[in-house]
Symmetry: C2
Subunit: 586 residues, 2 copies
Amino acid sequence: MSGAALANDSVMSLQSNPNDWVLQTGDYANTRYSKLSQINRDNVGDLQVAWSFSTGVLRGHEGGPLVVGDIMYVHTPFPNKVYALDLNADGRIIWKYEPKQDPDVIPVMCCDTVNRGPAYANGMIFLHQADTTVVALDAKTGAVKWSVVNGDPSKGETNTATVLPVKDKVLVGISGGEFGVQSHMTAYDMETGEQVWRAYSMGPDDQILFDPENTMELGKPVGADSSLKTWEGDQWKIGGGATWGWYSYDPELDLVYYGTGNPSTWNPAQRPGDNKWSMTIMARDPDDGMAKWVYQMTPHDEWDYDGVNEMILTDQEFDGEMRPLLTHFDRNGLGYTLDRETGELLVAEKFDPVVNWTTGVDMDPNSENYGRPEVVAQYSTEQNGEDVNSTGICPAALGTKDQQPAAYSPKTELFYVPTNHVCMDYEPFRVSYTAGQPYVGATLAMYPAPNSHGGMGNFIAWDNINGEIVWSLPEEFSVWSGALATAGDVVFYGTLEGYLKAVDATSGEELYRFKTPSGIIGNVMTYSHRGKQYVAVYSGIGGWAGIGLAAGLVNPNDGLGAVGGYAGLSSYTALGGQLTVFALPD
Amino acid sequence: MSGAALANDSVMSLQSNPNDWVLQTGDYANTRYSKLSQINRDNVGDLQVAWSFSTGVLRGHEGGPLVVGDIMYVHTPFPNKVYALDLNADGRIIWKYEPKQDPDVIPVMCCDTVNRGPAYANGMIFLHQADTTVVALDAKTGAVKWSVVNGDPSKGETNTATVLPVKDKVLVGISGGEFGVQSHMTAYDMETGEQVWRAYSMGPDDQILFDPENTMELGKPVGADSSLKTWEGDQWKIGGGATWGWYSYDPELDLVYYGTGNPSTWNPAQRPGDNKWSMTIMARDPDDGMAKWVYQMTPHDEWDYDGVNEMILTDQEFDGEMRPLLTHFDRNGLGYTLDRETGELLVAEKFDPVVNWTTGVDMDPNSENYGRPEVVAQYSTEQNGEDVNSTGICPAALGTKDQQPAAYSPKTELFYVPTNHVCMDYEPFRVSYTAGQPYVGATLAMYPAPNSHGGMGNFIAWDNINGEIVWSLPEEFSVWSGALATAGDVVFYGTLEGYLKAVDATSGEELYRFKTPSGIIGNVMTYSHRGKQYVAVYSGIGGWAGIGLAAGLVNPNDGLGAVGGYAGLSSYTALGGQLTVFALPD
Ligand SMILES: O=C(O)c1cc(C(=O)O)c2c(n1)C(=O)C(=O)c1cc(C(=O)O)[nH]c1-2
Ligand SMILES: O=C(O)c1cc(C(=O)O)c2c(n1)C(=O)C(=O)c1cc(C(=O)O)[nH]c1-2
């Protein structure tokens, strides 16, 4: 059985051509690795800006451009414009898509007006707008081929995520974990936009598309009502578990992978139980959405450690055997390695030594707590109780890593992980649910990890087999930009101050830095055009870390607690929205 | 008598140090010439982007940064933020000034929300905001030392211009030619902000600060009521003549020079007479504002050819004699050379051969039309009458050159002039005056000069002694960016598509181009820091030419007729607001 036959052919062939960059994630496996090596560790120091493009929109620019053949696709945060730029003509604008979206969606977006970008397949560009409209655009002309509405912003349903084109479907998630949305993953027919299936994160088995006998967790069937049993009454209906992260796909196993977000509200006392399947890695069949296996990383979350970060699919030797692995750096501070075929848990280790809310995961398959993290009582916001300020919890709610995707180099077998080095005080309070109103229930303050290097971030290299940090580069602010690894043995990432940095893939030594116009929360990508390799990244401060600047907030507790911790950013950068493209001199 | 003693000492000493860039105009003489030569015609092709900075504001970015010592001052269009950036720390933000201005000023700005930047003197940064608030900021801390209000936006009085610090005063102008503002030049005490004098462009002699005996035009005293006599009744009270351009100063002669704008309304039939002193070059005493000499270039304007463009002060040989010259490229398409001491008219020649509204200026001192342009009847919008569309007039209302300042190199004795190659149809109609409402009275359409190269601009080298174009580089769009000439024999300018270009000062040969993030309407500047020469320019499409993109207009006649002609810009660029700084590789 051939993987290519199962997957979307156009995506499969384009992702294997390093000249193109067809998915936000680089490839289905989410490695963010490029085989291009014209720019390498010896010459990256000579990198220059080749050209640049202002998107005409301010606030946080997440995701990155796509390149398919001679066209680059550039997108923006709300109002989610898409530009098709002609690489043969210095980036001349071939077409522009400018949706008219009701600005009422802005206040129901929890963490800035970001959008992690469109995806390409079968001659179409698929974009999931903030207002949850999913559009298919003709990639050559920008004409709308179909559009469908995935959710209702008046209930707090919005979108920031990219989409995943798989086979003849486009998979899309939803945001709303701070608004009590019963969240879901939905598949639409790629050619017509018709809905094919929808899998909720919580609810009855027929809503979550679980088969009690055949959906497995850690080697055992989940059984009937696996979600309902973990909620009090109807609370699952406002249970959160948003699906706003990254999605990957294994064409051989024919499984899609993604994680679910926090249970709603942030006040854990209001929702007794494990709150399944929030905070869960899901492996689903793309044809019908049925879950093959699942693993809940943070049962009954007490810290907002959404489990949505990317799942990176690699084939590596583990204990002397080649295994299909899935590596995931969770907000909760643990780096997980699983067998992506079976869901077996292989590694769960802290990828920042300051993580203190847990002593670690019970790895004993015979233990009744198998796979559960042990919670340190002092940092249990549930145990400390409502209206009590639990202090010194590491990591902060935005996790040791948030959505900023890591990269993997098969040459070094290392993962390059942009991380947060931030701790928090967390005070839960009782809140009542009103559709479309924030359903948060906690006051937060964030600050650099105490007794460390003083900064709020590290850029690390991670060994997913041994669960170890190989090297760690301190950063003044969280690294909120996605990494890129290349066959040139260089790893790229951006910083919130606005630097694009290139480091040696083996040693971490800094080889190049350039100050782009604004803070970088975009993801670095690379492509080749007419025989020349380019590296490109968006600037545009924002996202949760940059929400103070993006939304003009100054109260330290505003922006769900992020404003205070990142206040220093205003000495480095102002709002922006630019693409900067780098190359070696001719 | 020493010039330095008369001028502002801090400005005099800083303008003579090529490491600094203390005034928007480069120097009091408005030459936009730098003695720096590290970047020169041989190596400019190796130029690279050194760093970049997003201003956090979109729309048209005119003017450019200032550099004083280790600090760079960056400003924005409305709301007119000012950033002080630390050149010793990669542009870290030392302070930021963010005025709160009523957005009601935006609709009374005729030609985008641009601002041509602050000026430095005596440890202060002087900024004239859109709402006509003039502020003095402590250059080290950004603290407001004083502020004064120069006009009333509810009457259509706004500001886009820079200010001129001279001696112990700051001179400021006003915009409002499209709102029937009786415009003026005003001097404020540099230390206190107290008003010292105000000279109106039209009105009684005591308002225009004319001395009937000693204020001269073309060698003759202007006589009493020189302005009043040229208006019907009280029309001078809503006569326009805005002072929104550039101001220069000659410390030896102790004279300031500036031009006045169009008479209001654009319908010439409504205001019989020469409409003095609209469209006039003024030479005034900075101490008391008294006019020494004046010259009206376009009496009774019928095309909106504001006379506000910069006056460039040079000392050159003319007819075998060293003369203090003033060179001015007027909107009306004529390049003027005058003796700046006496106001004697030496040269008036077309700097674009397509100029057709006039056959030229009567240069015979004995003629009664001495100094007047002869109007071609076919292109007289007055003669053709109200509600008649006069077609094919060249140049268009925005002139053969608008505010985009030219540069002069003493090495080549050439002027480098960014020009428009645009013609128009002009249909005047009757309009009535209401304070604060547009008082325009004409419908315009603009298009590339017919039967030419198809583009809308040229970048030319001009010989001001012989009144001749030396070379001319065709451009697809108007060159709306200010030029820079350097001792490295390189001339820089930006294009509306977003290119920074460097050309050979002698031959015009293109030596370098770089695509910046957005269209360039800013003015190129250069400075040196720690022994390294930098070239810097703002990107950010807008201004009158870019008003369609800036204000989101699509009707071709909107934006005072500019939208249609420049519609093609949307294929090249989107809104922006960035500083890009260039240098040679280390
Ligand atoms: O639960 C949700 O629905 C939801 C949505 C989003 C989002 O859509 O951006 C974020 C989060 N949660 C979140 O917890 C979070 O840390 C976060 C960071 C960001 C960002 O783009 O910087 N978005 C989000
Ligand atoms: O008469 C006026 O008051 C006035 C003001 C301005 C301005 O303040 O920008 C412009 C003009 N007129 C004008 O005629 C014109 O061509 C123009 C171009 C621009 C620009 O910045 O691109 N401003 C103005």
